[in-house]
């Protein structure tokens, strides 16, 4: 009897001891589609660290806006990583992410990139600046800024580029309208945009550097130039307020900003948010680089440019035919 009860006590004690030592947590990461391979490398690397020991992940990748709407509709998430900040702010409005999500050293961002011109072999039309895009006969391919949130980076890069060239805001809007007359295809997403361009449409495709680099790594015949004036794309990440594993999620967030993790991001084509991890990789500095703040910040920009009824882009789309 005594032996059995001692064994019983041990059997009962062990799970409790085990639980205290290394809790088996499952973190749910909901992200946009491009960093899939990066996270595929980052997660195992994190699991090798002390903080990541015993933490498993459920991962979901899809179009940034669609993923954001999914979380708003109840998709369980501990971490959300999207292509642009508005996809997180919409969750703040639904009380799924804390209001102060961006109050850290990196303003809530985890990776960066820039808007680039993907061009034909040898850049025959010599497209280097935003003004070059207005040359007669130049055909532009860019994702539709209404069906692809990420495409808004392209529009704001063009607008900011016009401002950098000395134009007034009104003139910059006119520039956008003129540029849009050269658009010959508006694919629904960035990936489809590259497909459209590689299938032979257009002279230039407005893309993000990290996606162009990724395509090159995968053997696609992609050549690109970075205009002097271009926007700094910043991709946000946050822990949700509904997360049941906040400590582990925060630990993963912290890990993502360490040098080894940022090095992995850089190797996947992203510009890092910390210094000193880009040895051997080519991320040219651009003299007239600007951020979304330069053109007004996302809140103002969303309303002014991308409101489906009154936005500048809505007006430009509506007047392109009709």
């Amino acid at each position: 009897m005594r032996r059995i009860s001692f064994t019983l006590i041990l059997a009962l004690a062990f799970p409790a001891l085990a639980a205290g030592a290394a809790r088996d947590t499952k973190l749910s990461l909901v992200a946009y589609s491009t960093p899939r391979e990066a996270y595929g490398q980052l997660i195992p690397a994190f699991q090798k660290t002390a903080a990541g020991n015993g933490v498993s992940f459920s991962q979901s990748y899809g179009a940034s806006g669609e993923q954001s709407r999914a979380v708003a509709s109840g998709l369980d998430a501990d971490l959300v990583a999207f292509s642009l900040a508005p996809d997180i702010t919409s969750l703040v409005q639904k009380k799924l992410v804390a209001k102060n999500w961006a109050n850290d050293k990196w303003h809530g961002m985890v990776t960066r990139s820039v808007v680039v011109f993907v061009v034909r072999d040898g850049n025959p039309k010599k497209l280097k600046t935003w003004n070059d895009l207005l040359k007669p006969g130049v055909q532009i391919v860019t994702p539709n800024p209404f069906t692809s949130g990420g495409a808004r980076w392209n529009v704001m890069a063009a607008y900011g580029g016009a401002l950098r060239a000395g134009k007034t805001p009104k003139q910059a809007e006119t520039y956008l309208a003129q540029m849009w007359k050269h658009v010959v295809a508006q694919p629904a997403s960035a990936r489809e945009g590259l497909q459209t361009f590689l299938a032979g449409r257009g002279d230039v495709f407005l893309a993000y550097e990290n996606e162009a680099l990724f395509a090159q790594q995968k053997g696609q015949p992609v050549q690109f130039v970075i205009p002097k004036a271009t926007i700094l794309i910043e991709n946000p990440i946050a822990v949700t307020s509904t997360s049941k594993n906040k400590p582990q999620a925060q630990a993963f967030l912290k890990y993502l900003r360490t040098k080894p993790a940022q090095r992995i991001f850089a190797q996947n084509g992203y510009r890092p948010v910390v210094k000193g991890v880009t040895q051997g990789l080519n991320f040219p500095n651009r003299p007239q680089l600007f951020t979304i703040k330069y053109v007004g910040g996302w809140a103002k920009v969303e309303k002014k440019f991308f409101d489906p009824r009154t936005g500048v882009m809505a007006r430009i789309q509506a007047s392109s035919g009709g």
Binding site: G65, E66, R69, S90, N144, F146, T147, S148, G149, V183, V184, A185, Q186, P187, A188, E192, Q195, T196, A199, G200, R201, F306, D307, P308, R309, Q317, A318, S320, G321, G322
Partner: protein, 268 residues
Amino acid sequence: MAASAEALPTPRARRSAAPGLAIGLSTLYLSLIVLLPLAALAWHAHGWDAITSPQAVSALKLTVVASLVVALINAVAGTAIAWTLVRDRFFGQSFVNALVDLPFALPTIVAGLTLLALYGPKSPAGIDVAFTRWAILLALLFVTLPFVVRTVQPVLLELDTEMEDAAASLGASRFATFRRVILPNILPAILSGVALAFARAIGEFGAVVLISGNLPFKTEVVSVYVFGRIESGDSGGAAAASVVILALSFGVLLAIGGVRRWTTRHDR
């Protein structure tokens, strides 16, 4: 046949449960699976300017016209294909028959990629219709291919050839036989397939979105426009636009049902 050992009951009394059951069960199923989500959508509809803006109207016009054209082409082509697969005999017939459903089974992104590669700027046959309205027709014809074929095939298989033989022996030409004997019998099936093709064409997104280029007023179909509304945070407007599209489609579907009733008005 009727091996019942009981005394013969009145047919009406024994059959009373069946119609009610069929109607009740199918209505319940339809309500749960289709009507409930549609009701939630209609409830959420807000902001009718989403469908009254010039861009929306243009997209809607383009989509409806394209869908009608595609439905009509399918009526003719689908019937011809069904005829060839049922009444004709040639080498590789069952192979061709097996392929007919593939436009359905292939994910729409693959359909789009394939059509872009074959009939786009780098077409091996030199046929480049991508990013024009012809591309929309092409993509819609691809995804609606199986409909009329598969609705007419079973009817053709069931069709008694007696009347056709009688007409032939009376000296009717093949065309007259087709027009007066066969066509009235397969017309309801053709119309069934046409209704399906029209509905699918109205709602198609994936196969069209890549190859059309989505240029407003030129090649933007209404499903892409509605998606744009959802992505811009105006899901209420998207729902409103969808309700209008549904009402329109519903009207056309009722009209097709009316055509069927009118063309078979002399039967039974």
